[in-house]
Amino acid sequence: MRAIAGQPLAATNDFVVKFANINGSGSASANELFARSILRMGVPVASRNIFPSNIQGLPTWYEVRVSGEGWLGRRGGVDFMVALNPQTFDKDMASLEPGGYLLYDSTKPIPPEKFRLDITVLPIPLTEICNKAYADPRQRQLFKNIVYVGALTSLLGMDLEAVKWLIAEQFETKQKLLAPNIQALGFGYEYARDKLKDRCKLKVKRQDKVGERIFIQGNNAAALGCVWAGATVCAWYPITPSTSLAENFNRHASRFRIDPVSKKKNFAFLQAEDEIAAIGMVVGASWNGARAFTATSGPGISLMSEIFGFAYYAEVPAVVFDVQRGGPSTGMPTRTQQSDLLLAAYASHGDTKHVLLFPEDPHECFDFAVAAFDLAERLQTPVFVMMDLDIGMNDWLVEPLAWDDTRRYDRGKVLSAEELEAGKTFGRYLDVDGDAVPYRTIPGTHPSQGAYFTRGSSHDAYARYSEEGATYIAGMQRLLRKFETAKCLVPKPVVREADQKARFGVIYYGSTAVAMNEAVAVLEKKGLPLDLMRVRAFPFNDEVEAFIAAHEQVFVIEQNRDAQLMKLIVGECAIDPAKFLPILHFDGTPITARFIIKEIATRAGLAEAEAQEAAQ
């Protein structure tokens, strides 16, 4: 953003618009319409919903970053505020960049001294327009949202036809609503065209930067992944921000998994009485040979812990999506964090550890959902897909989801009736292949071979109860070796080396990636080369240790207070903590590029002034 002192901001395809609304006022679909219209013009956008734990009345925001260059993280700062919430009006105005724009409902006049002098004010009498046009109070409220989208369309020089086209698609099945929506759009468009002409210097210009990409939420993509991965049982308990994952699974499975003859469901979708029951069902179903999963958030993980330990020790597959939110306790249920890593990694009492996957965006949520089922069955253990609210509940612009029809599910080591009949020796916890992964049998397979007793109490290689010290230790050591096997199977980190030799390495994961990509580009331009490693799984593959060893100092960028990934690395890889420089963002909003730039620049010793400048 190039701000010239005292001048209104001027930019094309590179600015941030924020909508300040009241929860429950019907603004969400209008705001989304705005974002999608820009995408239809071939210009990348990143949108983020910032909402309260409330159904009606509290403030809610929607931020749209327009970025012709394709940066999809949050930049930080706001250039154009659509300020429609009196409760937050002052704060919203204060958050504008110098030279920014403020659109507000001018039906009730606001005294001029209330406005900042360094911004451009764009008054539109939204209420008046709607009161004139509509008699029904609900319509008056709802169409206000479309009217401001119309105004933005004009102010930002957007393609009116693209917006109309999208509205038409949206109301394809509700034709009755189409005409009034188009009309409301026109009211706003015409008002801004006639009364606010040339007042806004932020513009959207048609580009061809979106291509085949799709605009989708991570929860939805993960749900699709579960359907494509062959999951047949979903047991869950509602909790923000994971609820839409389960609900989307039901929706997609109801479309793609109906038995063609009987029209009945080839899946089971069950809302459990709590998270303990949900994970119990997942473990019971997985034990019985179905691919089963649950979706939850931190509080659910806490409740499920006892059964995670059971599944680890009795070696039962389970797939768990943890869509992380702000903790501890109820914390910030509608805000994002990456603060369940340590909880999930060691969930349950005793010496327990679990496989974790860290998808960076909805596209990877799909891929890792699929991978999670293969890993869980191959390793016979719970696998956690560690998402967060930012990925899970926001629409992200990502590469289309892909499926290779030659790909086969890895159902792991399951003995068939034929193999049992042929007299293959069966010891449920016997390490036959040297990879520490035993064979299992599914109940009901064979009349006289392969039955065993699954238990969470100490057992020998044949699943017999035993408290013999040596037997117990052998079992526990094998589980450790199994974790070594897991290292070779989980997704490898993605390493990107700087063109020049870099003193610093940077480790990051999950939803931080989009902001990190942008930050590193800026920092390199400022003369700070950085090697990057995006960690994608726990246990850490050897590449992780090698990367750390190759750098003098390593930044670890995380969205939690306690540097949880760093602690996991320090503990698991026995690395001196002094080697790391944690950069932690945990106010519940998604991390921004500006934040990372400023922190790294400062701590890497770029001159203070330069750091400040880099942040601009």
């Binding site: 991965a229 009987s262 089971a268 303990i276 019971g284 040979g289 089963a292 009901g444 009349p447």
Partner: protein, 351 residues
């Protein structure tokens, strides 16, 4: 491909059943419970019932929680897979297993601590969902495995071994089960095999949630004077509403059918429950009346046993969920994965 079970050869005096199995083929490991423990008698009754019904042992999934009672699945049906889960969570694990494969017989074994305290929620929800299962609560009024503390089914006024008096109200799992919509509800006594075995058989052949509350004295911690779950107390207060005889589907029933004193209940699979009415006024098809009957008679200190309630054509979990007939765990990749083309269509919807 299916494999025919090959029963081991046994002493000729052991009678084979219709599948060629003898009673011994339904046994499990040697019990490690205290000698005389009521739970062992229930295991024996399960063995007897499965043997008499010619159940294929490997088509049974034995599920349990934690407690002395929950250990018992190791002591019967050695050819069946067992799942000794965590304390109070058997119902959810069983529900998940049942979702994955609707064709096995799910036999859940639990204790009164497991079901009425830590697991009361899961107990309730499994019943209200109509999970197709036989749920046996081996009820001794104490936590056996942790050495004799009162459980939530201990009666108000009951005395512990050390003389402590139980002051809280008791939870009656059977009344709860009636309220929650269980479709086969029975109570019995571990010491009354004649009553218990046919009740288990009827439960196995029932479609839907079958619950059996079986009073099962803990000889070590709750069999003294002052206990309301001791052998002596139960024998004295046992008031059966009916005597049940299980009649398999193909058997003809004409002989001693006396309307008025005998009632026939036809179950979903065509088998019958022949009930000799011991209380002429008692009706097993009237849920509300059953509840009232239980409350009245229990208040008088009677332990009401027998088949309390049955709804032979109740819907079960799979009916509720609308799942297909083919067990989910047998679906192949071809049936499960919509493939690349379908995903392309989906992508198109997000542009």
């Amino acid at each position: 491909m299916t494999y025919i079970a090959k029963p081991k050869l046994h002493h000729p005096s052991l009678q084979p059943n219709a599948l060629g199995f003898t009673r011994r083929d339904y046994e499990g490991r040697i019990s490690t419970l205290c000698a005389g423990c009521g739970h062992d008698s229930i295991s024996a009754a399960i063995v007897q019932a499965c043997y008499e019904l010619s159940i294929e042992p490997h088509r049974v999934a034995k599920m349990s929680g934690i407690g002395c009672s929950s250990k018992t699945p190791d002591y019967f049906l050695g050819q069946a897979h067992g799942f000794n889960s965590v304390h109070g969570r058997m119902p959810s694990v069983l529900t998940g297993a049942a979702m994955a494969n609707r064709d096995l017989l799910y036999l859940g074994v639990s204790g009164d601590g497991d079901s009425a305290s830590i697991g009361l929620g899961q107990f309730a929800h499994a019943l209200r969902r109509g999970v197709n299962m036989v749920y046996i609560c081996e009820n001794n009024g104490v936590y056996g495995l942790t050495k004799g503390q009162f459980s939530a089914t201990a009666d108000q006024g009951a005395k512990s071994k050390s003389g402590e008096v139980h002051v809280d109200s008791a939870i009656d799992l059977i009344s709860m089960a009636l309220l929650l919509g269980a479709s086969y509800v029975a109570r019995s006594f571990s010491g009354d095999k004649k009553q218990l075995v046919p009740l288990i058989k009827g439960a196995i052949r029932h479609k839907g949630a079958a619950i059996l509350d079986v009073i099962s004295p803990c000889v070590t911690f709750n069999n003294h004077l002052g206990s309301t779950k001791s052998f002596d107390y139960v024998r004295e207060h046992d008031e059966a509403v009916n005597a049940v005889d299980f009649v398999p589907a193909k058997k003809e029933i004409t002989a001693d059918y006396e309307p008025g004193t005998t009632e026939l209940v036809r179950q979903h699979d065509g088998s019958y429950l022949k009930l000799s009415k011991l209380r002429p006024d008692y009706d097993t098809s009237d849920r509300i009346a059953a509840l009232a009957y239980l409350q009245e008679h229990q208040a008088q200190g009677e332990l009401v046993t027998g088949l309390i309630y049955v709804a032979p054509e109740a819907a079960d979990l799979h009916d509720h969920l609308g799942t297909a007939d083919t067990p989910l765990n047998t679906l192949t990749e071809k049936e499960l994965c919509p493939g690349a083309k379908a995903l392309e269509v989906v992508n198109g919807e997000y542009r």
